[in-house]
């Protein structure tokens, strides 16, 4: 579904990503792990067309989308749930959701869009309850649901989720992750960028570990959970060293 080949990205003279290659197969949930500043968000920004300064090639469904503008990439089926939600606070919940389908309204008409709205409401009943409320008045968890719902309204082929657990209480994180799992079970292809490695590896099929802009490890979630380096660096398991 998504295939990235030797991608390098720059901020001026600083190289943020070095030859990053990864893929997400159709129906698969893949997580991208890494500490703050490892380059996770840069990667998301590059492949969704927001950050233009990059080398390498990336493909969606076999089509080369490297360097295409953000609206074109969105139109081709890359749905994004950005870091920090980025919802439109003064607008109502309903308007936020409808904005997600903005690029589709003209071509497809309102009917199919309203059907999708219905299925978003089914996934997140709380959004239906608050559909006329201003988005800014929602709780953090609800805002995250709204951001996911809005991305789904564009009928994406793949969903990029950037740190959906950020700033949320553990109980809410659990709920969000359950929803992500539900989406996956419904056949959605997902790239999940997370700092919460443990939660992410529990629900993902595979994962990549990004460090200083390089991918140091790729593997099935179980392998990464078993890897002691991953355990030490990302799962908060410190071992007292008896000898070196």
């Amino acid at each position: 579904m998504l295939r990235v080949e030797s991608l390098s990205a720059y901020y001026g003279a600083i190289q943020a990503l070095r030859n990053v290659s990864l893929h997400v197969s159709a129906g698969e949930m893949v997580t991208l792990l890494g500490a703050n500043g490892a380059g996770k968000s840069t990667l998301i920004k590059v492949i969704s067309g927001i950050h233009p300064s990059a080398k390498g090639r990336w493909f969606l469904n076999g089509q080369d989308i490297s360097g295409l503008p953000v609206e074109e990439i969105l139109r081709r089926g890359m749905g994004q749930v950005p870091e920090g939600r980025q919802i439109f606070a003064p607008l109502s919940v309903l308007d936020n959701l409808m904005l997600g389908a903005y690029s589709r309204l003209r071509g497809e008409g309102k009917k199919t869009v309203l059907q999708d709205l219905e299925s978003v409401y089914e996934l997140f009943p709380i959004l239906r309850e608050r559909k006329d409320q201003r988005a800014g008045t929602l709780s953090g968890g609800e805002q995250q649901m709204l951001a996911i719902g809005r991305a789904l309204m564009s009928r994406p082929k793949i969903l990029l989720l950037d740190e959906p657990s950020m700033g949320l209480a553990p109980r809410i994180v659990g709920m969000i992750f359950q929803t992500i799992q539900t989406l996956r079970r419904k056949g959605m292809t997902i790239l999940l960028v997370e700092q919460n490695a443990k939660a992410a590896l529990k629900i993902a099929d595979r994962g990549y570990v990004l460090e200083n802009g390089r991918i140091l490890m790729e593997g099935e979630s179980e392998d990464l959970l078993n890897n002691r380096e991953v355990q030490r660096a990302y799962l908060g398991k410190e071992y007292r060293e008896v000898w070196e």
Binding site: E5, S6, S21, R214, I215, E218, G219, N227, R228, E244
Partner: protein
């Protein structure tokens, strides 16, 4: 049967992508954690960051058996020992073995890969698998043992030797699959006949052989004598052990686990990468090994790769049976014998010259080793008792260092050298 359809039948494009991803991460880890690779890359002014495609692999330096000997025992481990849960070793050079380590994930992958090889050879969970490789430091027995357990077969960790007991267990425990070297299988077949046992009275259905070359003539002979289906599998102890490649039911080459290894074929003289289908030395790069990654390891085995589709449905490319090697190494009873090992033994012993000839032969299906050694003038005229003690010493050291028993024959000074130069160091009469 196909054990892991997802990887063994993966579309080519996806395999290529997976290989690139895993190659890049392996290079980053090797460069960061193994000082040997860091030094080598820095010397050649190559950075792992420059490797953007599989083709770029050709820029990287090779790793050889000598490199491994130079970092004995743990110098090339990419992780500290506390992450390593298994240590194996294989015959080394210069008197020291080659040490390899495995993390929990490495062992997990290894079991998966030997399960693939065993499944391709027809082993299912109803099988009773008799493993007649030597258990111990060598990788053969344990590697296939774990794969057979993963499949759910009943595993008999028989080890080698004691053919009488071996056959009794085969009869009484109703062994259905024999895992061993081809020469030992042939030996068992002959033993069975010599004991007047009807091979058809056994439950044996298949044999999965590895550890040494298994030419078609041997396959045919074992198959006809034991009435079993014979498949060949291939491994390299330094790279992982068995599980690297194995034949499927079509027996038209050994499917190589390309999701865990990148194979290249190089010209052993020029070291240039050869095109698909050409015969040359197999070079392997590991893609998932955590404890002991190897970049472009020269296996010294001569083979060719075949990318044409196989009717079995596996998309992994196939390598030809390995029947010879690019150096003068000798594989005997599943053990590798290097001339340098023999030289180091001869250097230790008083009265002999480091001029020798190794003769490998197969007598009644079993590999034999004869070592001709020149003695010096003083010893040659000495008492016969003295000569016997020298032969005994060499034979003992051979067993200790190389792990193979052989017969030593002392010959007159200069007799292994002719005006045209020295006689060949290795004569292999088995081929």
């Amino acid at each position: 049967m196909i054990w892991d359809r997802r990887y063994e039948c993966m579309p080519r494009e996806e395999i290529e992508q997976l290989q690139l991803e895993r190659l890049q991460s392996t290079l980053h880890r090797a460069y960061r954690n193994v000082s040997f690779y860091k030094k080598k890359f820095d010397q050649l002014k190559i950075s792992p960051d420059e490797i953007q495609s599989k083709k770029d692999l050709a820029q990287l330096p090779f790793t050889t058996k000598e490199d491994l000997a130079g970092s004995y025992p743990y110098g090339m481990f990419a992780l500290p020992l506390r992450e390593v849960i298994r240590i194996h070793s294989s015959s080394g050079i210069r008197g020291k073995p080659t040490v390899t380590g495995y993390t929990r994930n490495d062992l997990h992958h290894w079991s998966q890969l030997t399960a693939r090889v065993l499944s391709a050879g027809g082993v299912v969970k109803d099988d009773v698998v008799q493993i007649a490789f030597r258990y111990g430091l060598f990788t053969g027995a344990f590697g296939l043992h774990h794969g057979a357990e993963l499949i759910g077969a009943s595993v008999i960790p028989m080890s080698t030797g004691n053919t009488h007991l071996q056959v009794m267990i085969m009869q009484d425990y109703k062994t259905t699959a024999l895992v061993s070297t081809p020469s030992y299988a042939l030996y068992i077949a002959r033993y069975i006949e010599s004991q007047g046992i009807d091979p058809k009275s056994l439950s044996l259905k298949r044999g999965l052989f590895g550890g040494e070359p298994c030419p078609e003539s041997i396959r045919k002979e074992i198959a006809e004598r034991l009435f079993i289906d014979v498949t060949d599998n291939y491994g390299v102890s330094e790279v992982m052990g068995p599980g690297i490649s194995g034949e499927c039911e079509y027996k038209n080459g050994l499917h190589l686990a390309e999701d865990h290894f990148i194979p290249e074929i190089v010209d052993p003289q020029t070291l240039q990468v050869l095109p698909m289908g050409a015969e040359g030395e197999l070079v392997l790069t590991t893609l998932t090994k955590e404890a002991f990654p190897l970049i472009r390891y020269r296996t010294r085995d001569i083979t060719a790769l075949d990318s044409t589709p196989c009717p079995c449905g596996r998309t992994l490319l196939r390598m030809k049976k390995v029947l010879r090697r690019s150096d003068d190494i000798l594989i005997l009873k599943g053990m590798k014998i290097y001339p340098s090992q023999v030289e180091s033994i001869l250097m230790e012993i008083e009265g002999v010259e480091p001029h020798y000839q190794i003769i490998a032969d197969r007598v009644q299906g079993i590999d034999t080793l004869e070592l001709k050694v020149e003695v010096n003038e003083n010893v040659f005229s000495d008492a016969i008792k003295n000569l016997q003690s020298i032969s005994a010493q060499i034979e003992r050291r051979l067993r200790e260092l190389v792990g193979v028993s052989g017969k030593v024959k002392l010959v007159a000074p200069e007799s292994l050298r002719s005006p045209e130069g020295p006689a060949p160091k290795i004569i292999d009469r088995r081929i």
